[in-house]
Amino acid sequence: MTRLKSVLVLGFIAAYLSALSFGTVAHALKVGLCGNTLSYYVVWDMFCGWTAWDARTHLIAEGASGQYYDVREPWGEFHPFGHLARIHYDNTNDLLPRHIHNVLRHTAHEPIDRVFTIEEVWPKQYNLPPGLYDEHFGRPNDKMSYYHLRAVFRDDGSLMNIYPDWHAKQKLQAVYDNPRLRRQSANATSLFSTLYNPSEARAGSTLNTSMGSGLSTN
């Protein structure tokens, strides 16, 4: 091995171990991780999240005639990690618009007015097999799914409306179910000052004049 090769080997070892160390320290101390895609390659946060409710995503297209359609791949869903379609693993909702656009452009259908994204949730204890459910609960498995409107898209996948997900909605309701907080939020006033502008004041101007921002009818 030449001297250059030795230096390259040592450099590679040092760089590789530094990257792994960075991932571990950053993960432990929660620094320098946000917005850094490459950190995904050096942070080992397997099973960092969990939920008590199982969830599925349904896409319902509304045709011009009023007929509803299931926006599912007619050529067969791809199941990446088990027996669920790829769309169900999209917890960041980045796939939704592209999935809608891709399915609609590759299928024959009437003009589509809008596509609803529905979140289906149910408590996970209902996933138990019948024997185990009976042993631990001693009552019929009366599983009921809850459906929640998450977003509305156009047929090209562009977003029309978006709403908080089911979990966020439940948490918000729990917080809002507090008369004191409701009263305080109702009494609070948001203020977007049009009378005083610090940068104008610094420049010596005391006039409240529009500098090109906002609506002008002249």
Partner: protein, 501 residues
């Protein structure tokens, strides 16, 4: 590769750790098993290449999920499909060790590219680990033994009869990678309080996000088992880095690791993750291990088998023409893979766009089903806010560890309800009722939104007589669950209390 001065005489322990000379049998085993474990899921994705990784589909790059935009170019199907075929061929060539370094280099780049391109359905932690291992295999000499390359080299007569030796640093980096992975995973668990109460794993085992988990649901309902295994797994993950390089600790740590990954298959339904990790474990195989195994293999019972395989190898070697340069053969194979992949994908015609019947129709939906989904305003049923309700007498880590239906006077019953978050702040009550459903006792407590469970302690005192009773869980004035129990006789403790009074 000639040994460098540093390799010749590593003076420090650290130098010996990285630059000791060994035949890379361990890395050769990783080279054989890892591309197989990582390649099979990629081969299964081949029918959907167009949909997952091309401009004619719906790829979502992991960069986009981190709000950094589409950093990598997305290729049209005419380019992406043959490239995908080349990736599969390179993984296959790595397994057999044909033009090993080039194949591994291409496989690493293309495997990482296609994974990053589909952040939803391809990239996951197991593919990240596989990318690391492929990179480290590329910089190693994994193809120098047990490979087509080694065989061709031997046949040309340019090498010694003894297997070549190289610095062990690539194997050490793989070993260190696993130490970092497990240490990082332990940090994740330590930062997740619900992991140590068993709640997190319980809900994961009840999910059906992976493949079948034959015993996951049964384990999920056993709180003591979840708690004990949570602590054991974290202890093992932390100890791994400290014991795996010690002669006695190595087998224990690797054995525990193999058992851990095997259990993730049984309880969580993970197939590919354990396969990739266990194939990486072969990096811990040393030259000495192989020498010991070889001695065993050359012992009397295995000798005929060994002779037979040697004969078959020599016959095969004689059949392969010696005049074709390996580079040409490899290039031809790459071309065949690219053309074959293109042809196969076109024939599959995923979207049926070239069929005579034209595009497939969008699937109509039953109007009632669609309207049910669109108009559902049902509030969460009160009993859906609860996971379960059990009665017993002992706890482990604040979790009920036994379930009982028979009690004696003087016993302290623990009634425990587990809740499904998110839930609001609640007032939860327990009622003791007799067999006529007459309430004898009633007690309650606040369960704030952050709580996952509530325990009620009830001493079965002399107010009750022997007979059948129920412990009833109520919330929002609704009966949630009822557990029947019988009070049989006075316990020794109660007798003692009576006698002393």
């Amino acid at each position: 590769m000639n040994p460098s001065p540093a390799e010749n005489s590593p003076r420090t322990a650290l130098g010996r750790f990285f630059f000791e000379q060994e035949t890379p049998f361990g890395m050769a085993l990783v080279r054989i098993f890892l591309p197989l474990a990582a390649g099979i899921p990629m081969a299964l994705r081949f029918p959907h290449v167009r949909e997952l990784y091309t401009t004619d589909g719906s790829p979502v790059q992991v960069f986009e999920m981190y709000r950094q935009g589409a950093v990598l170019p997305v290729l049209p199907p005419a380019v992406a499909v043959p490239v995908y075929g080349i990736m599969l061929l390179c993984l296959l060539a790595s397994i057999v060790g044909f033009r090993t370094r080039t194949s591994l280099c291409l496989a690493t780049v293309l495997y990482s590219y296609f994974n990053v391109l589909d952040g939803i359905g391809t990239l996951t932690k197991y593919s990240v680990i596989a990318s690391h291992l492929l990179l480290l295999l590329t910089v190693s000499n994994a193809g120098s033994v047990w490979s087509v390359d080694a065989f061709l080299k031997k046949r040309s007569g340019t090498v010694n009869i003894l297997p070549p030796r190289f610095s062990v640093w690539p194997a050490r980096l793989v070993q260190l990678l696993f130490a970092f992975i497990y240490f990082g995973a332990s940090i994740t668990k330590i930062q997740t309080a619900e992991f140590f109460s068993g709640d997190q794993m319980r809900y994961w085992m009840l999910s059906n996000w992976n493949y079948e988990n034959p015993i996951g649901e049964a384990v999920a309902m056993s709180s003591p088992l979840l708690l004990i295994s949570a602590y054991l797994s974290v202890i093992w993950e932390v100890l791994f880095a400290f014991l795996v390089w010690r002669p006695r600790g190595r087998l224990l740590m690797l054995g525990a690791g193999a058992f851990f990954h095997f259990m993730t298959w049984l309880t969580l339904g993970l197939y590919v993750f354990p396969a990739i990790c266990l194939s990486g474990y072969f990096a811990f195989v040393s030259e000495q291990d192989v020498v010991r195994l070889r001695r065993l293999a050359t012992s009397r019972p295995f000798k005929p088998l060994l002779r037979l395989s040697a004969l078959a190898m020599s016959r095969m070697a004689a059949a392969v023409p010696q005049t074709v340069p390996t580079g040409v053969t490899w290039t031809c194979l790459i071309a065949i893979a690219a053309i074959g992949a293109t042809e196969a994908e076109l024939r599959m015609d995923l979207y049926q766009s070239r069929s005579e019947s034209g595009l497939m129709s969008l699937i109509p939906m039953d109007q009632d089903v669609a309207l049910t989904m669109l108009r559902d305003k049902n509030p969460v049923r009160e009993h859906d806010k609860f996971f379960n309700f059990e009665i017993g007498t002992s706890t482990i880590g604040y979790q009920l560890s036994n379930r009982r239906t028979e009690y004696a006077v003087g016993d302290t019953m623990i009634a425990q309800c587990n809740l499904n978050p998110p839930h609001e702040d609640m007032w939860v009550e327990c009622l003791v009722q007799d067999d006529q459903e007459r309430t004898i006792e009633q007690f309650g407590q606040f369960v704030p939104r952050e709580s996952l469970r509530a325990n009620f302690f009830y001493t079965l005192g002399n107010k009750l007589v022997t007979g059948q009773y129920s412990m009833v869980l109520k919330s929002a004035n609704q009966e949630i669950h009822r557990r029947h129990f019988s009070l049989t006789s006075e316990s020794a403790a109660a007798n003692f209390d009576v006698s002393t009074n």
